[in-house]
């Protein structure tokens, strides 16, 4: 009897486990062919009156295998509404499948909406659990819809351009700023650092996506757009880069230095009797990549020094732009808070007294180590 019971015990356990797996399918699970995957979402200013947002979804149409597919296949849906969730609900009535946002990896915000409240736009993505916090956020120019609907020639099945731009697995460029959703959120909430987003532009024929600008959002809702060079300098100062290049023009000599090691650090010094100052050190090491003249090894030092001076000018110009517009994408204010013991009014002092009067003391050391394969 006892032995029988012990044998039964295992059987009962197995039955419970198997029975449970049958129940599992009942909890809202839908097969993959009943789902449609949203790859990107674009948000624009609504065109119709009474609505606020125009939501565009980029949907992936699945094909049997990558080999069979003749090209990329996408479908697009657009809807105007006052709220994002409402637009998505309404779009649901236009398809026969369930939207799956688990693969949504890019959120494009139309340029016109930048002066709107971004935290309201991103709210749904942060509030709902199925949106990844590692979604990239970018600005679409001229509109998000155009960016979403562009299908570049180089796009292949299962390799979405909008993802490749930002994941460092594809293209790597010093002109691309990447901003994850969680990064955007923490910068929006924190005093002392302003969010920065990449700007994706579409060419006139809608065949190319160009990413080399960026936009700094400020609390005054005035967006500052950075030029490609400013974007590159921003990335350099933020230590986001592994490599970059510098194009320097010295009288009639023009040369390009390819930098493969870069490091920036800075300190904010404040004392009672002198003006606040940022001491910044930028170390750049690299080799010559291109020059339009013969270059002797002995000249390298001189070229390095000249390049250093040039970069110093660029950094200073960028800093003054930030200061004038009262934006702080590099997080100087955060660093100020991080190095001073907290007390009431510390940050308002930074905003009112320190940042407007801050002087930048930057020293750039460009080290050109070689002229490359030829002199």
């Amino acid at each position: 009897m006892m032995i029988l019971f012990q044998k039964m015990k295992v059987l009962v356990l197995v039955l419970i486990l198997v029975g449970n797996s049958l129940l599992q399918t009942g909890c809202g699970f839908k097969d993959i062919d009943k789902r449609i995957f949203v790859l990107a979402i674009g948000i624009d200013q609504a065109e119709s009156k009474g609505n606020r947002y125009k939501v565009t979804l980029k949907l992936a149409l699945p094909s049997g295998s990558v080999k069979q597919a003749t090209g990329t296949m996408y479908s697009y849906l657009t809807k105007d509404s006052t709220k994002m969730a409402d637009a998505i609900r309404q779009l649901k009535t236009q398809v026969d499948k369930e939207f799956d946002f688990g693969h949504l990896k890019t959120i494009i915000i139309g340029k016109e909406l930048l002066n709107d409240d971004i935290s309201e736009i991103t709210d749904i993505f942060l509030r709902r659990r199925d949106f990844q916090r590692i979604t990239w956020v970018a600005v679409g120019s001229p509109t998000a819809e155009k960016v979403i609907k562009t299908e570049p020639k180089s796009e292949m099945p299962a390799s979405v351009s909008l993802f490749n731009i930002f994941a460092n697995t594809g293209v790597e460029s010093p002109y691309i700023v990447t901003s994850y959703l969680f990064d955007l959120r923490r910068k929006m909430k924190e005093h002392g650092v302003d969010p920065i987003l990449p700007v994706i532009q579409v060419d006139k024929k809608s065949t190319k996506l160009i990413v080399n600008h960026s936009a700094v959002l400020s609390s005054q809702r005035e967006t500052l757009e950075l030029t490609p060079r400013q974007t590159k300098i921003y990335n350099m100062l933020k230590n986001n880069l592994n490599k970059m290049e510098l194009m320097i023009k010295k009288e009639d000599l023009e040369y390009i230095v390819s930098i493969d090691s870069l490091k920036t650090n800075y300190k904010i010094l404040t004392s009672a009797n002198s003006a606040p100052i940022i001491k910044m050190n930028v170390d750049l090491v690299g080799i010559l990549e291109e020059a339009d003249q013969y270059i002797n090894v002995k000249e390298l030092n001189e070229l390095s020094n000249f390049a250093s001076k040039e970069v110093e000018k660029w950094v200073e110009a960028l800093f003054i732009t930030f200061q004038k517009k009262n934006v702080d994408p590099l997080g100087f204010g955060l660093r100020y808070k991080a190095t001073r013991l907290y007390k009431e009014g510390l940050f308002s002092k930074w905003e009112e007294e320190v940042y407007p009067n801050l002087k930048l003391d930057v020293s750039v050391n460009v080290g050109i180590k070689s002229t490359g394969v030829i002199e």
Partner: protein, 364 residues
């Protein structure tokens, strides 16, 4: 000490990382959270040392047996009832916490009742096991999960988006005085050895609590506290982190595996959490059942030579869980867990008083 002593303690520590402890500390990030962490480490280690020292004098004996010998019966029954209820509540809070997390992140369409029942089905079987087998389960879960947890923590701290400036801003708030509730929340992670109330029965060999064991506990505990406080701050931002309901899990959603089958780390974390929370609920409810059956035992409540009293308790536990889970909200859960943490210093004081009496009478 026996390695099982460490498993009990460490599992309790790692579970606390996913429970309301980080949330409570992060709510006080502009108050005395950092000092609380620093204060709680010596307090916690002191408690671990005292508990370890006490039980090493009585190898193979649990607290119920010791109280039988040296303490009046009335006090014994009262104290064990309290212990049983508190340990039940500890398990209950974990059950609810984890069901909420599953409901929020894994399967939002599933019914809460169903989720809880599914967890409890396995706990039901587990809690009735022999104490020794419970320890074996703990060992297995510990070995399988904790190395992965440590890897993920390293991944979080070495992530490019881990911003040291946020952490430094948090440290700049260190001058504030701690509050009672933050200290008791932070030191809760060290209360694992209290499970020896029952598990000391299995530790029949002579144990010795040395400075080495304390150093291991201290190292692990400090790591757990610093991680659960600073990791969410560094990843989610100092001011933003207060708006997040589950800081640890949302922080893990900011990480991703670039070259792996699963991209979102959060799902791996949830799986690991399931295993660890299971171990924690198992230990707590095993202790609760053992303690309660020691006090209340129906000798005639039998079915084929098998006494059903533990089953009765487990069914009561089950029904209570189902009732509570539908009633509580996430915010109330954090609040009540805070109350629960606050209860522990008093409970431990009474426990140490008893320890003192028992040791004096045992010597005499």
């Amino acid at each position: 000490m026996s390695r099982y002593f460490y498993y009990i303690t460490f599992i309790n520590m790692v579970t606390s990382m996913a429970a309301s402890m980080p949330k409570i500390l992060l709510l006080h990030r502009e108050g005395g959270a950092i000092v609380s962490i620093l204060v709680s480490i010596p307090i916690g280690l002191g408690v671990c040392y005292l508990i370890g020292r006490f039980y090493q004098c009585f190898p193979g004996k649990g607290l119920p047996e010791l109280m039988d010998d040296y303490i009046p019966k009335f006090i014994k029954i009262l104290f064990l009832l309290v212990i049983g209820l508190v340990w039940f509540a500890a398990g209950l809070l974990s059950v609810i916490m984890y069901s909420f997390i599953i409901k929020r992140f894994l399967s939002p369409n599933a019914n809460l009742i169903y989720i809880v029942s599914l967890i409890l089905l396995f706990i039901y079987y587990g809690a009735l096991m022999k104490s020794k087998n419970v320890l074996y389960v703990l060992e297995m879960i510990f070995i399988l999960t904790v190395p992965l947890v440590i890897l993920l923590i390293v991944k979080a701290f070495t992530n490019d988006y881990f911003e040291m400036d946020f952490v430094k801003v948090a440290i700049m708030h260190a001058q504030n005085f701690p509050t009672f509730s933050t200290v008791s929340a932070a030191s809760f992670i060290f209360w694992g050895p209290a499970n020896l109330v029952i598990f000391n029965r299995v530790m029949t060999k002579k144990q010795s609590m040395t400075w080495k064991s304390l150093a291991i506990l201290g190292l692990f505990g400090t790591g757990v506290l610093l991680t659960s406080y600073f990791m969410p701050i560094g990843l989610l931002g100092f001011e933003n982190v207060g708006t997040i309901i589950y800081p640890g899990i949302t922080a893990s959603d900011t990480l991703h595996f670039q070259y792996w089958i699963i991209e979102r780390v959060v799902f791996v974390v949830l799986m690991l959490l399931l295993a660890i929370t299971f171990a924690s609920i198992l230990t707590h409810w095993h202790v609760a059942i053992e303690v309660l059956t020691n006090v209340i035992y129906f000798k005639k409540f039998k079915w084929k030579k098998h006494n059903l009293t533990p089953h009765l308790f487990l069914i009561i536990f089950w029904i209570t869980s189902l009732q509570v889970v539908t009633y509580l909200t996430e915010y109330q859960l954090v609040k009540y867990t805070g109350y629960f943490y606050n209860l522990f210093p008093f409970l431990l004081t009474v426990m140490f008083l008893l320890f003192w009496v028992i040791r004096r009478r045992a010597k005499a």
